[in-house]
Symmetry: C2
């Protein structure tokens, strides 16, 4: 059976810093963009804990309002639309295309596995010129359970017809690695600036995406 590789999309493959100008214009500081994404994640995790599912785009807009409240600054009326539009047009990180081609060339079956709704991730991968490299594009939205919830990874395994023990989850987020480990997958943490592993649940391997791709192919 060929190796199956599930890849997270936001930050792991695509560069969210393309959103920075909107946040700089809105709040006067590009560092509010990673703060927004952290708020988004906090809301996603909270609603996953309570079982009150909301899609990631809805949570993204709620996170803008929480950010504005925490900063004590108004949220410009056009910011939600700007963020939603730019999220579909993020550039890939410079190392993404070559690493995916290497994995695919080495015989791995590649699946995007993301919390973004399907129409968003499909637009993202097409815009980034990555769509043809994937065997399948999957969203946690399909099973109404966001990562790191177990059902999201099981959806990936079922859709790919793969066993957890023969599959990898590749992500630049410690929380995603933690969830994939708990679901029985092998895990690879991609080092990106500003990201961190969970020291209580470290990945099987970690490093730059190119290095991780080589390790996965080496078996």
């Amino acid at each position: 059976m060929p190796t199956t590789v599930f890849l997270d999309v936001n930050e792991t493959l695509l560069d969210l810093s393309a959103l920075d100008p909107h946040f700089t214009a809105a709040f006067g500081d590009a560092q509010t963009r990673p703060k927004w994404f952290a708020e988004l994640l906090q809301l996603a995790l909270t609603h996953t804990v309570t079982g009150d599912y909301r899609d990631f785009s809805v949570l993204g807009e709620a996170a803008l309002h929480a950010l504005g409240q925490k900063l004590g600054q108004p949220v410009p009326a056009d910011l939600p639309n700007q963020v939603r539009a730019t999220m579909r047009q993020l550039p890939p990180h410079p190392d993404t295309h070559a690493a995916l081609e290497r994995l695919r060339g080495g015989g791995a079956a590649l699946y995007a596995l993301t919390n973004n709704p399907l129409p968003v991730v499909q637009a993202q991968l097409e815009h980034a010129g990555l769509g043809d490299l994937f065997t399948g594009v999957l969203s946690a939205d399909t099973v109404q359970t966001l990562k790191p919830g177990r059902a999201a990874y099981l959806h990936g395994l079922q859709a790919a017809g793969a066993d957890a023990a023969d599959s990898w989850l590749v992500a630049a987020h410690g929380w995603d690695i933690t969830g994939a480990r708990a679901a029985g997958l092998r895990t690879a943490f991609v080092t990106r600036p500003g990201q961190a592993q969970n020291s209580l649940a470290p990945a099987d391997v970690s490093g730059p995406l190119a290095e991780v791709a080589g390790t996965i192919l080496a078996g």
Copy 2:
């Protein structure tokens, strides 16, 4: 039946800014303290989603390592102990004591309900001079499920012998309000600088602690 009021402790009653000097000494910026607490919360939520329980003090130390990795700065060897010790000696916010006395004087039964392990919260409330105001001190650690997990609130209700519909959860965190709402409690969001509600699950009432106390007593 008297009104039962469950109160979150960290940030809601006690001022975490007493930790700032340790973070300034370690990372050169006091704003790394709220970043640390956000990391701690992210880890707590992630482990609650995966069902891999860790106590809040263990998660707090892991969050220091994640923060250091995200900042690209080393974590001083003595920082975990400094943070752990100072967490037990936080000052109350200036409005805390009077608001709790008002609630108690109005006939409410007060329970601390926190993610901190029991020995930590007991030390915190004693140091802050608040211990005598509470009918009971409760920790999510007792049921091995952190807030906003449902079991933490149900533990509070059971220990207090209270019905959800006659009980309030008071907190300065949107995620705590979200969890308490999902468990059926009435909810009051305390406005503190740098905190925000979840616009998808707003509290029944919100405002400064003194105002919230008056609203709760008014019924």
